[in-house]
Symmetry: C2
Subunit: 419 residues, 2 copies
């Protein structure tokens, strides 16, 4: 049955050609910037709708601005396998983040149609629009709409220019009042699959074209304030100092050590603001952020306890004040084991030399929304240098083709399971 499907090489070439078409649409000429509900988003949605229709899907732009396409299977109205990702980008972003997953879904649907394959389920492709959390202080709102988890308060969120999300949605051609009806019925989605470029360097380092996501990691963030005593850099002896920067530096290294001590965990100090921040003044206060993640909720809790203990010990020994203010915490979202296995089988059928590498996702995805209502899995594609959210983001055409071929094989595996 798979003999008539296009090769990975052909799929890769088609994907790059399609991305070139889709990525013409940008809010900033010379860069790829496509913010939720912007003019470029609207153009990209129209392009996506057209591409879906050419691929044999019935398509429309939904009330929240997502593009939805569907082709019925052997029994009209049956539950679907849904392939999706997003077509919004960060400012000056990369060509593949989100876009590749949407193109992969469309090309898979097209290949199946061209091969005359009738599936025992419907096939849907969706292009979400609010994944990157850039324009509005919302996150994954368009996939939340499908999951029946849309918070109406999001409509009152405003961008930096003061535009209300609800108004922007109406101007875009969406329909705030129609959002509740987007919620999918329980059981109506058999499986959710998302192809996405890896946003880190793991597959590159391990020389694997694709990886199967095991879980979207648990994550916690906190603001840390360390208060010491400002002093003259020349006149306060070392033994009498309460140097907020030295204490904070020790805490940053403690976080690094804690994260390094747990398999697949990470920990990052990204913001580090020094008061007063003058060459000849011993810093009196430092505010920094910690962001730590693990595929395991238990490990995340253990890390948090270790951070509190170690930071507290450092603060006490150095005689500085310490305030830890957690402000965001999310539990791990495990991917469905059966769907991971379907992707593994897809990998094996795509190439004997390929390994079904399992890898956690340290970044959030629309799959998080969908996992609440249906079996969900993700396939990562090797990122050439591990660079994300940058015009330097890159992948090879060959890897893109392998990923789409794996997706096709996984869909066929799911079909096989029906019979």
């Amino acid at each position: 049955m798979t003999q008539s499907l296009p090769s990975a090489g052909v799929l890769g070439a088609r994907a790059f050609a399609a991305l070139q078409g889709l990525n013409r649409f940008t809010d900033e000429p010379g860069k790829l910037t496509r913010l939720y509900l912007s003019p470029a988003h609207r153009q990209a949605a129209e392009w996506t709708k057209g591409a879906m229709e050419v691929a044999g899907l019935s398509a429309f732009i939904d009330a929240a601005g997502s593009v939805q396409g569907r082709r019925e299977g052997s029994a009209p109205g049956a539950p679907c396998v849904l392939i999706a990702s997003h077509i919004d980008t960060v400012k000056d972003g990369g060509r593949f983040d989100g876009n590749l997953g949407v193109v992969a879904g469309i090309l898979a649907a097209q290949a199946l149609r061209d091969a005359g394959i009738v599936l025992p389920f419907a096939l849907e492709v969706v292009a979400f629009g609010d994944e990157e959390n850039v324009r509005f202080p919302t996150h994954l709102s368009t996939s939340a709409a499908l999951a029946g988890d849309y918070d109406p308060a999001w409509l009152d969120a405003r961008d930096t220019e003061g535009t209300r999300l609800g108004d922007a949605l109406t101007a875009f051609g969406g329909n705030p009042a129609g959002i509740p009806a987007l919620a999918r019925k329980p059981g109506s989605i058999k499986a959710y699959l998302e192809v996405h470029i890896e946003q880190g360097p793991v597959l590159e380092v391990e020389n694997e074209p694709v990886g199967i996501v095991t879980t979207i990691t648990a994550q916690s963030r906190a603001r840390i304030r360390v208060t010491g005593e400002a002093g003259h850099a020349g006149t306060v002896p070392m033994r009498l100092r309460k140097d907020a920067l030295a204490a904070s530096a020790e805490m940053a290294l403690a976080l690094e050590a804690i994260a390094s001590g747990h398999e697949q965990a990470v920990g990052t100090v990204g913001v580090f603001d020094v008061d007063p921040g003058a060459t000849n003044v011993v810093p009196g206060a430092v505010e920094f952020t910690v962001d730590f993640r693990s595929p395991s909720n238990e490990t995340l809790d253990a890390m948090e306890a270790a951070i509190r203990a170690r930071f507290g010990e450092i603060a006490e020994r150095r005689g500085v004040g310490l305030t830890i203010t957690p402000y965001a915490k999310a539990a791990a979202v495990p991917m469905e084991p059966g769907l991971q296995d379907a992707l593994s089988i897809g990998v094996a059928r795509t190439g004997a030399n390929l390994t079904a590498r399992r890898i956690p996702s340290g970044a959030g995805h629309d799959a998080m929304s969908m996992a609440a209502i249906c079996p969900t899995a993700m396939l990562f594609v090797r990122n050439e240098k591990g660079i994300s959210h940058s015009p330097l983001e890159n992948m090879t055409e060959a890897d893109a083709g392998i990923a789409i071929r794996v997706l096709l094989e996984a869909i066929l595996e799911l079909a096989r399971r029906e019979t």
Copy 2:
């Protein structure tokens, strides 16, 4: 002979009353801000000239804006003992920094005159005007003028409003062309003594009202740039990171350890700028400053070598780039041993319970300029909480009185050495 000199208690009361008078003059109402050549500086100079005259000194405002007062000793035209400090302040500064030393000189001269003591040398008091390096990018220019080390290029320095120093000096009533003539002849100053509030907490911690400065410490500054690789805080595994912040934190702690390993040395990271500085991004680059000081030039060189070695080792181990750009280095300025001893004798004669505590100065002073042309020493006065360059700077009236009494006794000791 000293029976007729006022007690420390009387001198302290007089000093606080005088400071109240002098510190009315500020460029910012509600704060004490008196920048070089500002209107408040001019008013303070006039007040100082008047106070000198009342104390029996012939006084004038010199070509560079300093106030100079002199009373001849037994032989007119003889070399002088010069007591000085500065009457400029930082923005929103303390009441004692500089001002106390000028008032101490005036009150000492007054006490000696009132007691009918004729010295075997002239006594001079000078109120310098450009110590704080705030308004113009010059430092110690007015004392450099007396030391014959005034760089004419300083006249072209400009403040943040674009005003040329030379023009500001003319508007103030000074005379740029007259500066070279301010240079004192070799041998014309027998001794330079400066009373100054300690700008750190050492005397406070050791419960000593005064301290005798051993040396103005050697000092070196450098800008450090650490370049790693920016990455997504969730997706780059710890083992694959080149985290510029973690590397810089380790370097900051290395500097702290190096400084703590040398007696009386200090080391400070005061500026620490993170790029890009976002919660969810592994920092790609950090720029920070190091400032390190020691009373010993040899120790400073050893510290610099240790910093280069340790920072280099950290950078190599972590695979990050490292650039060290030194931008300021000053050798130690030792105080003259015989004058330190005269102050020690002064301390002993002031109170049997006082210790002649020796202490290095980690901050710069006009004494640095003067040490190039004459024997120089400084007396530090206990700072209530070790806070400098702040309205919270404080000392007790009792300590101020003790310091002026010590100064008087030291002057008398120098007189004794002449006979």
